[in-house]
Symmetry: C2
Subunit: 271 residues, 2 copies
């Protein structure tokens, strides 16, 4: 049981076989990603993870064993205690698996930053590189066994330490799950500002230097997108990629111009 004093952030992610992962994927990677995606949500809220609850659908022995192995690795890597959860039978052996995770965290700041907290006069920053997950995904699709190249897709590392370190200084903050451009546009909409990105400043995975737009529109990177007062030093490893401006005609500007109409900004969930 938890004993807490102060604010608590609770988040839940559900993953469905055939929607969020492919039937052939290693269940250990699926487990890792479920934990990572939840902890990434907590990271954006400056949280220290305090507990997880797992909803697990039983499968055959290979599925159960590999899933547990990946879960154990993730729990150890991120120092997040598993408090409980529920285990359910599959309705039939071939039914798509559904797994879920609730993550509880204590924010280092109360209230924690949200995507609505961007304000004109702030600079826009990002951790890591855009497109690392895409590069890993494409390598996997091509049958690569280069573990380093595929790791960002299979085993993303949420920015838990960075999120906590940013608590005293971040304006707005969110984790990138659906691509930089779409998530930046959401930040602009939520905060009633225009966000202007200089694409030459955006760090992109080396495999995607000639496909930068794609790298900025692909999800699964689990990096942090945040704002700091213009000119402020950043306490974590990150790159300044743009600025927040008073709301103009467009939510998002790329190199000073609005994105072309009809061009996808990123991954939209099927709802």
């Amino acid at each position: 049981m938890l004993r807490l004093n102060g604010a608590l952030v609770a988040t839940h992610d559900t993953m469905v076989e055939g929607v969020h992962w492919l039937p052939g994927q290693d269940p250990a990677d699926v487990a890792w990603k479920l934990v990572a995606s939840n902890l990434s949500d907590l990271a954006a809220k400056t949280c220290r993870p305090v507990g997880l609850l797992l909803s697990f659908m039983l499968g055959d022995e290979a599925w159960n064993t590999r899933f547990a192995a990946g879960l154990g690795e993730a729990l150890a890597a991120f120092d997040a205690p598993l408090l409980g959860g529920d285990t359910v039978s599959a309705p039939s052996p071939d039914a798509p698996k559904v797994i879920g995770l609730t993550a509880l965290g204590q924010p280092r700041r109360d209230p924690p930053p949200s995507r609505a907290d961007a304000a004109p006069g702030q600079a826009l920053w990002i951790t890591g590189q855009c497109g690392a997950a895409l590069a890993g995904f494409e390598a996997l699709q091509a049958g690569s066994d280069d573990q380093t190249l595929t790791a960002p897709y299979r085993r993303p590392v949420p920015r838990v330490a960075e999120g906590q370190a940013l608590a005293p200084v971040a304006g707005a903050m969110m984790d990138l799950s659906d691509g930089l451009l779409l998530d930046a546009a959401r930040m602009a909409e939520a905060s009633g500002t225009t966000i202007s990105i200089e694409t030459c400043l955006v760090p992109v995975h080396p495999a995607l230097t000639r496909r930068k737009r794609e790298a900025m529109s692909w999800g699964d990177d689990y990096e942090l997108l945040f704002t700091l007062p213009e000119g402020a030093a950043c306490p974590v490893e990150a790159v300044r990629i743009g600025s927040v401006q008073p709301r103009g005609a467009h939510a998002l500007l790329l190199d000073g111009s609005p994105p072309l109409a009809g061009q996808s900004l990123g991954y939209r969930h099927g709802i």
Copy 2:
């Protein structure tokens, strides 16, 4: 966001179409039961519910609408705020639905009672009647439209107020989800005692007076099973049905004798 001071209990239940409910059931009842079963877990821990997170698999419009209606009714009935969660697409239109709920609660006692806290010299008590859910289930199966008779199965009411009222006095406490006999045996095993039940004292739904053993072995009743010091007054409406004794050869005694070997005590989950 929650702001808390002290202990927090977190519980998660997942329900699967074809395992926990039948495809033809009203989605509003499914939603209600998902909330009720989680709140029943909190009730047994003397908790005031402070928040829920829902994992919802989208279906057709009828499913979504009816589910939301039942969810709204349950949230209002039990005064439990929905904090968030996740919504996922189904992998295919005919895939069995999977839904989950995390419930967070603040216990009135720290540590809260557990099934391991039964001790010799205590009396065993139960709220409500055994078999009300079974009577409702059978009525539904028979095509009854008697809402009062079917309600305990369709719309069980967790003992949230009773659980909190019992905080100062209860020894062991648990909610009945798999039938009185199985759950009482679990309490005995967890606490290293023998639990002795006088079956003539067990309140049974009127429709099942001639099938008492079945009523005591059927799940879904969501009543509280708890112990009090022998002779103590009970602060909630409940009935004394037995006593806790030093551990003998058997975990459970019914009218002084062990249950017959090979006879089922209750519903065992498929794991």
